[in-house]
Each structure stands twice: as structure tokens, then as C-alpha cells.
């Protein structure tokens, strides 16, 4: 009972703050709403007893990603009037058409599909230890690739950030 009430509380909070991200006039407010929304999703993961995903959600999305967004905002020069830039051009109707077609296709196809995994069948109580085991056995190769990928992204960021000072 209490779980159900809490679940609804989190669900409404997520949707409400997500709406706040979209509708708030100030980007900084939007970013703060985003943190709340992402943290709420992390809360839902705890209800599903997938602690590791919840932890990752809090640390990476709630923490790192939004801090990155805020930092990026700090670097950009904000328009004094705060008027948002016009984001639509003459291509907007075509974009909408493509988007709506894709949405309808996805919804239609998803409804027509016999999805095998019911929520009740999902394995629960996966510990961080088990995830660690899999990471170094089955997913050893992607783990190594990911480390190289991060290095590359890092180098790329430095190369472009230091573009000006020629040595």
C-alpha cells in the first residue's frame, strides 16, 4: 500500500518536473527541473529493486550530466532579454510529418507485437557483484573498447578546446 502511494508520488513528480523542463522560460530552471526528473526515475528503479541502475541513474544522469549541462550554459552567452531563439524553419512541417509517421509506425508495430517478457518475469535482485562479474567476462571486450572510447573522446575535446593557441 505504502509502496503504491510512493510509486504514484514519484510517477507524478517525474511527469510534473519533466513538464517543468519543457515549459520553464529560463534554461537554468529547466536544468534544475531536469535533475529532479532524472532523480525521480532513479527512485522508480529502486522500486524495481535494480539498485545498480538506480545508482548509475543518480550519479551519472542526476549528477554528472546535469552538471555538464549547467556548465555548458554558464559558458554560453545568454541573450540579455532571455528571448528564446527561433528553432523552427521552413523544414518544420516536414520534420513534424516524419516524426508523426515514425511515432505512428512505432506505436502500431509495438501493439501488433507479442512481446515475450512480462514484467513479472524479469529477474530481480541483480547485485552489483553479478554485474561486475559479467562486465569482466561476457562484456570484457566492450569494457576495453569503452575505455579506449573515453580516452579518444577526451583527446578530441582537448584538441578542439585548444584550437586557438598555435604552438
Amino acid at each position: 500500500m505504502i509502496t503504491e502511494i510512493l510509486w504514484w508520488f514519484f510517477a507524478i513528480a517525474i511527469v510534473g518536473t519533466a513538464a517543468g523542463v519543457v515549459f520553464s522560460r529560463s534554461v537554468v530552471h529547466a536544468a534544475i527541473f531536469l535533475i529532479l526528473s532524472l532523480a525521480g526515475v532513479g527512485g522508480l528503479y529502486i522500486f524495481l529493486t535494480v539498485e545498480f541502475v538506480a545508482l548509475v541513474q543518480f550519479l551519472i544522469y542526476g549528477g554528472a550530466v546535469t552538471v555538464l549541462i549547467l556548465l555548458a550554459l554558464m559558458m554560453t552567452r545568454l541573450d540579455a532579454t532571455g528571448a528564446p531563439d527561433k528553432l523552427t524553419g521552413p523544414q518544420a512541417p516536414f520534420g513534424a510529418l516524419v516524426g508523426i509517421t515514425l511515432l505512428l509506425t512505432l506505436v502500431g508495430v509495438s501493439l501488433a507485437t507479442a512481446w515475450p517478457g512480462d514484467v513479472d518475469d524479469l529477474p530481480t535482485n541483480i547485485t552489483i557483484e553479478q554485474i561486475g562479474d559479467v562486465m569482466f567476462t561476457s562484456y570484457g571486450a566492450p569494457f576495453i573498447i569503452a575505455s579506449a572510447l573515453l580516452l579518444v573522446a577526451f583527446i578530441g575535446a582537448i584538441v578542439f578546446a585548444k584550437q586557438e593557441d598555435e604552438v
Partner: protein, 488 residues
């Protein structure tokens, strides 16, 4: 077997990239040896790959998610070769730019390692992250030049590439949601049992995956980035894009579609998608290439058209059934022939543009007089791209058309042959321009080609000719590599 031994070719290259960065950090003044370090890493990697193959150590490692088989060794060696050729082709350009040399070679090496991982990946997560490892360095390298165009090229490639990655991930997520596994053979088992109930979803997933890889292959309608990126990116990087990432995308598509989605109820549908994309790509690519005046833009559209030729093979494989190995090996042979040919073209263009300081096709007029060998090399490579004997490109086209004809795709063969005629116009126009006799021309003073470029140009042109006269060894290797799919 220790799984790390299986990925030793890639590890060698990644360690080489790391050593280059560390060496540059310790001895910042002494950067002469950086490209040679890169080449040494590639050489070590190739020797690891070949030693795996010679010892017959074909295994799956990491609980099945990574596989060393003839197919992956074949592609690993091809990618390493492409990487080495691009290192040679870059030396002169990187020296002239004169900054951040170590990062350039390190990124080139990691991109190569990413392509090699793609060749053996059998798991959707591994495939995706390997694709990113090869893509992200290429985004960075495309924006390496100092001018605005290069920046635009890098940004455009990054943004459109991210959209393609998102589509690909969406397709993969649908496959995972349905089958409950990211492991390609397990997906195959699931589809074998349940394909008929979920056909529409599987087709949607296939379409999204084709869209994601179609971007890398430069198939129409995912080609809009190609001309701008090729034009803006440094030419050695454009060479890498046009050969490396295209070939890798075909390798993965072979792996996903022929190992994972090869249920009969499904394969005819996506074979039709590939057939239609092939026809459109060839036609659109060739028509746009005809009207280009910038050689790099023209090569961009030509690479779109060539992607169409590759896709004929993919369409043929699915339909053929028992003649499977023939069609699959046609694609592999095409990869090798195309790699040699297109690298030769790009390297010749690097040498010529360096001298002319222009990418304008009309500036090539009378080039045969000032640089006869260079003009000859470019001429041979362009003849091979057109598909005229005796060149590797001729056999590649013949082989792939034959596979399509056997698969009852006669209409596609007719489209392809008509397109070859169209392509001959713009390829041979350059040859004619170069060998035209003109009196007073800016390029008429004889000029020297840097040794590194001359060396690798010689090797690639030699490859085009040798495989033009003796295609049998590569064909038999390609057949063996393609044979791994025929069992499943």
C-alpha cells in the same frame, strides 16, 4: 584460450596509440618517429592476427560475444592495411600542418582498432560500442584541418552520425526487447522460432539497423553528409572514411543479417530493401558525380555509387540460398579491390592537390606532361573504379554482377551495368583531361612526389594491377572467409 589473446591484434594497436601519446608527452620536440611507431603497431597487430589464423586458433571469446574466425581475421588484416596506407598518406600532410601530430596518429590508430573490433563482434553491445570507437576518432579527424570547411565537415559528420547511431540503437533495442538477448546467435535462434508472429517488428528493426549502417556505407538516402564531409575533411582522412568505415559497415551487416536475421521469412524482405537501396544509390551517386567540378566532391558521389555496387552483393546473398558462399565472397572480394583502388585514387589526389593547391578537376588538364607516373597511377585507379579489365575493379564488378544474376536479380544487374556506363563518363573524363596535350599550364613544371606518398601509391596501384591479372588468390581467401556463414 585466454580471451585477451583473441583481441590481441586490436590491443596491439590501442597500446601503440597510447605509446605514441606518451612518447610525445616525454619528448615533445622529437616527433619524427611518430608515424613509424604507428606503422610498427599496425605491423605487430597484423602479425598477431595472422598468427591466430595460421595456428588455426578460431575461437569465440568473452562467452561468445567476440569471435575470431576466418571472416574476422580477413577483415582485421584489410583494416590494418587500410590504416597503414592512410598513415603513409598522412605523413606529409601532418608534417605540413605541423601541430598535434601524436594525437592525429593516435586517433587514426584507435579508429583502425575500432574497425577491427567490428569485424569480430557478435553481440549488439560490442558491435555498437566498437562502431563508436571507430566513428568518434573519425568525427574528430574530419575537423582536423585549419580552415572553416574542415570544421564544418567535422561538425556535420558528428551531428548526422549521432542521428544514425540513434536509429541504429533504436533498431537494436527493438531486437533486444523482442528476443531478450543482445547476442547475435541467440537472436537468430529466437527469430527462427518466432519470426512469423513478429514479422512487422522485425522488419522495422531491420530497417532501422539498415538506416544506421547505411549512413556509414553512404547509401542513398543516408548519403547527404558524404560530399560535404569528403570535401572539407583532410584528404587522407577522407580516404580513410571512404574505404575503412564503409567496409566495416558491410562487415557488420553481413554479421548481423546473415548470422542473426537470416530466417527465410525475413531475409527476402530486407534483401529487397538492399536491392532498392543499391539501385537508388548507384543512380543518384553517378548522376550527381557527373556534374561535380571539385574532385573530392566527385569522389564523394562516386563512393555513394560504389556503395550501391556493394549492396547488390548483400541483396544477392539473401536470395541465393545455396549459392551463398559465392555471393558473400563477391562482397569480400569487392572490399579488397575497392580498398586498393579507392586508396590509390585518394593518394594520387593528395599528391596532385598538394602540387596544384586546388581540388578543381579542370586543373588536372595536361597533368601527364608534368607528372607522367602520377597521372598513370591515377589513370589505372580510375579505370579500375570504372570496372575495365585488366584491373581489380573489373573482377570485383563481374563477380558481384554474376552473384546477382544467379540470384535472379536481373533487373538490378541491368541497372548496375547502365550505371557503370554512366560512371565511365566522369571517371574517364579525368583520364582524358590528364593526358590531353596542352602547351601552357600551371601544372606543367615537373614536380616531385613525397617519398611516403609515392611508396604507398605504388603499392596500391600494384595491388590493383596484380589482382587485375591474378584475382584467384584473393577470391579463394574471400570464399574461405565467407564460408563461415554457410553453416548457420
Amino acid at each position: 584460450m585466454n580471451p585477451f589473446e583473441l583481441i590481441s591484434p586490436q590491443l596491439a594497436i590501442l597500446i601503440g596509440a597510447g605509446l605514441i601519446l606518451v612518447y610525445d608527452a616525454i619528448f615533445p620536440k622529437d616527433n619524427r618517429y611518430l608515424p613509424w611507431m604507428a606503422l610498427a603497431a599496425i605491423a605487430v597487430s597484423v602479425s598477431f592476427a595472422i598468427s591466430l589464423a595460421v595456428r588455426g586458433e578460431y575461437h569465440v571469446g568473452f562467452e561468445g560475444t567476440y569471435s575470431v574466425d576466418k571472416f574476422s581475421v580477413f577483415f582485421s588484416v584489410v583494416f590494418a592495411g587500410i590504416g597503414a596506407a592512410v598513415v603513409f598518406a598522412s605523413m606529409n600532410w601532418v608534417d605540413r600542418v605541423g601541430r598535434r601530430k601524436s594525437e592525429y596518429y593516435a586517433l587514426l590508430l584507435t579508429a583502425t582498432a575500432g574497425l577491427m573490433f567490428l569485424a569480430g563482434a557478435r553481440d549488439l553491445i560490442t558491435i555498437f560500442i566498437a562502431l563508436e570507437l571507430s566513428s568518434i576518432p573519425q568525427y574528430i579527424l574530419a575537423g582536423w584541418g585549419k580552415d572553416e570547411r574542415s570544421g564544418e565537415s567535422g561538425l556535420k559528420y558528428l551531428l548526422l552520425g549521432s542521428i544514425a547511431s540513434a536509429l541504429l540503437l533504436f533498431g537494436m533495442a527493438l531486437l533486444y526487447g523482442l528476443s531478450g538477448s543482445t547476442f547475435v546467435p541467440e537472436i537468430a535462434t529466437f527469430i527462427g522460432e518466432n519470426a512469423s508472429d513478429n514479422r512487422s517488428l522485425l522488419i522495422l528493426a531491420s530497417t532501422l539497423i539498415i538506416a544506421g549502417f547505411g549512413f556509414k556505407m553512404a547509401l542513398v538516402p543516408f548519403q547527404m553528409w558524404v560530399p560535404d564531409v569528403y570535401e572539407g575533411a583532410p584528404t587522407p582522412v577522407a580516404a580513410f572514411l571512404s574505404v575503412g568505415s564503409k567496409a566495416a559497415a558491410f562487415a557488420v551487416v553481413l554479421r548481423i543479417f546473415f548470422e542473426g536475421l537470416n530466417a527465410e521469412i525475413l531475409s527476402n524482405d530486407w534483401a529487397m530493401i538492399f536491392a532498392v537501396l543499391a539501385a537508388i544509390s548507384m543512380t543518384v551517386g553517378n548522376i550527381f558525380a557527373l556534374v561535380q567540378s571539385n574532385i573530392k566532391r566527385m569522389l564523394g558521389y562516386s563512393s555513394v555509387a560504389q556503395a550501391g555496387n556493394f549492396a547488390i552483393g548483400l541483396a544477392a546473398i539473401a536470395v541465393v540460398g545455396q549459392e551463398f558462399t559465392l555471393a558473400a565472397s563477391a562482397v569480400l572480394f569487392f572490399v579488397v579491390a575497392y580498398a586498393f583502388t579507392n586508396l590509390a585514387v585518394f593518394i594520387a589526389v593528395i599528391a596532385i592537390s598538394r602540387h596544384l593547391e586546388s581540388d578543381d578537376i579542370n586543373a588536372y588538364e595536361g597533368l601527364a606532361k608534368s607528372a607522367p607516373l602520377l597521372a598513370l597511377a591515377l589513370g589505372i585507379a580510375l579505370i579500375s573504379l570504372t570496372g575495365i579489365p585488366p584491373s581489380a575493379g573489373f573482377w570485383a564488378k563481374l563477380y558481384i554482377f554474376n552473384a546477382a544474376a544467379q540470384a535472379d536479380l536481373a533487373w538490378l544487374v541491368i541497372v548496375a551495368v547502365l550505371n557503370s556506363v554512366l560512371a565511365a563518363f566522369y571517371y574517364l573524363r579525368i583520364v582524358r583531361l590528364m593526358f590531353r596535350n596542352v602547351e601552357d599550364q600551371i601544372g606543367s613544371a615537373p614536380f616531385a612526389i613525397p617519398k611516403s606518398i609515392g611508396f604507398v601509391l605504388g603499392i596500391t596501384v600494384l595491388g590493383v594491377l596484380v589482382f587485375g591479372f591474378f584475382p584467384t588468390p584473393i577470391i579463394s581467401v574471400a570464399r574461405e572467409a565467407a564460408a563461415i556463414f554457410s553453416i548457420g
